[in-house]
Amino acid sequence: MTGLDIEAMDFPISPSPDAAPFWDAVERGELVVPRCVPCHASFWYPRNLCPTCGARDIEWVPHPGAGIVHAFCIHHHTSLPHLRELTPFVTALVDLGDGVRMMGLLDIEPDPDTVRCDLPVQLRFTKSADDRQIPVFVPS
């Protein structure tokens, strides 16, 4: 951890019906991702049908949370109030395998000489000021 002070922040999460199982798992310190029962395709983000085959039979599968940075940006401004105190900070698109590409905060020095695509990362969980577990990627 190099500086994302999640503990000092309120995090405005309002889980949708599609998202509730994800946030329930996060509260337990676990990552789960949706997978289609008939065609076995994993996908992201969660929804109530499979975007590959259209089936409505979806299961949630545990994931170890290891991935690689596919792309990143370093915010020097943000219009999102909950993140304003964090600038500059890094957002990454992380490939978790099996077609799951998840956006998240990356806790790393916000410097283009340090952050890079293809960096291996791991999802960790940190408590926010409003007492919820927040998933954050860290270099692994």
């Binding site: 309002s14 949708s16 370093i74 915010h75 698109l93 998840m102 905060l105 890079r116 695509c117």
Partner: protein, 386 residues
């Protein structure tokens, strides 16, 4: 080949840039009358109408203000490419005989809305929407970080540099210097762009488009009728529209935009190749948008966009006239820019572009890019016999 449909008029609102004393609807009306006058047509000739960007029922709102009761209308909303997509739909409507004269308008006061504390677009305030769930919590709720994510991958895969992106900002500014309607006309250098602060890495402030107040309109009819109007005729040889995602997390390949599909559709229908094109108007929400679009339309190989724009090749006097109005980067950008790409292409092909006229421009291409590199709409245009 041809679609059988042509642009016969194009125009802007009386003043664009910062226009705090006018409403968005006034900008629509000013642009509509300018474009119709440019076409030697009247509002009463219009029986097809397209717009978007204002309100929940954009075509109803603006058609009422203009006094139109159109036979065909639409408000397809796919981001900044929408108005180019409206032209694609207008072709189908005119070719089918459902209408004869189509007016497409755009007007927004994005710059002044912020000062008035108002918004004229529909609210997007349900936290259960996917972007609220999966992107906003992590910092992405506006285009700059979304496009920055895509650009970072392109730089990683192909060695594209910040200096190459800056070349686009500099060349576009040089075109703006020749356009009296452009907001920013002072000369730029690559060093000057590189020395502006990061907005969101890998974009400096000057890699990002303007936010302005502006209105624009274009008029289309059948090529057959166009030739009776006594105006220069700009035929649409081919068109295509394609979209692949809403949020940047669901973009199938961060380095390939939907212009790869819409462009192929438009060029194939037109029966011409990128190397035949004399002038290109490609949406420049960010410098990177232009670079990746050049690749996806086939002006250069995938990954070669940086090299293509280096050495000011796209500036006035360069080998490849690009974004000759000064673009969204330096001319105007009222939240969406597709309309203004078409206006400039029509002016260039009519030979009405003043100091920035590209000599003997016969063939042009327009590419709108909307959302988070989500949607693209491409037109291939030709100066035609009047």
């Amino acid at each position: 080949m041809s679609t059988g449909v042509a642009f016969v008029g194009a125009g802007e609102a009386d003043r664009i840039g910062s226009v705090p004393d006018k409403s968005a609807l006034q900008l629509h009306a000013e642009a509509a009358t300018a474009a119709l006058a440019n076409a030697h047509l009247e509002l009463s000739d219009v029986d097809g109408f397209f717009t978007c960007g204002l309100d929940f029922m954009p075509n109803l709102l603006v058609a009422e203000y203009l006094g139109l009761h159109p036979s065909v209308s639409g408000s397809n909303s796919i981001g900044g490419s929408s108005f180019v997509a409206h032209a694609h739909e207008a072709i189908q409507a005119i070719e089918s005989g459902a209408c004869d004269v189509v007016l497409i308008t755009h007007g927004e006061t994005r710059r002044s809305n912020a000062k008035r504390g108002v918004t004229t677009r529909p609210a997007h305030d349900d936290p259960w929407f996917p972007d609220w769930q999966w992107e906003r919590p992590w910092g992405v709720m506006t285009p700059p970080p979304a496009y920055a994510l895509a650009a970072s991958r392109h730089m990683h895969e192909y060695g594209t540099t910040s200096e190459q992106l800056a070349e686009i900002a500099v060349a576009t500014r040089a075109w703006a210097a020749l356009n009296p309607m452009a907001k920013n006309r002072d000369p730029l250098t690559v060093d000057a762009v590189m020395s502006t602060p990061w907005f969101v890495y890998p974009f400096h402030v000057l890699d990002c488009c303007l936010v302005t107040d502006a209105g624009g309109a274009v008029v289309l009819t059948s090529t057959e009728r166009a030739r009776t109007l006594g105006v220069p005729v700009v035929e649409i040889l081919g068109s295509g529209v394609h979209h692949t995602h809403y949020g940047i997390s669901n973009m199938p390949d961060l380095t390939v935009t939907p212009a790869a599909v819409s462009g192929r559709m438009a060029f194939e229908q037109a029966g011409v190749s990128p190397e035949d094109i004399d002038v290109a108007e490609l949406y420049d929400s960010f410098t990177y948008t232009v670079l990746v679009t050049l690749e996806d339309l086939g002006f250069c190989a995938k990954g070669a966009g940086g090299e293509f724009v280096s050495g000011q090749r796209t500036a006035p006097g360069g080998e490849f006239p690009l974004n000759t109005s000064g673009g969204g980067l330096s001319y105007t950008h009222p939240g969406m820019f597709g309309m203004f790409l078409m206006i400039e292409a029509v002016r260039q092909l009519r030979g009405e572009a003043g100091d920035r006229q590209v000599a003997d421009a016969q063939l042009g291409v327009v590419n709108g890019m909307g959302g988070y590199l989500s949607s693209a709409a491409t037109l291939v245009l030709a100066r035609s016999e009047s």
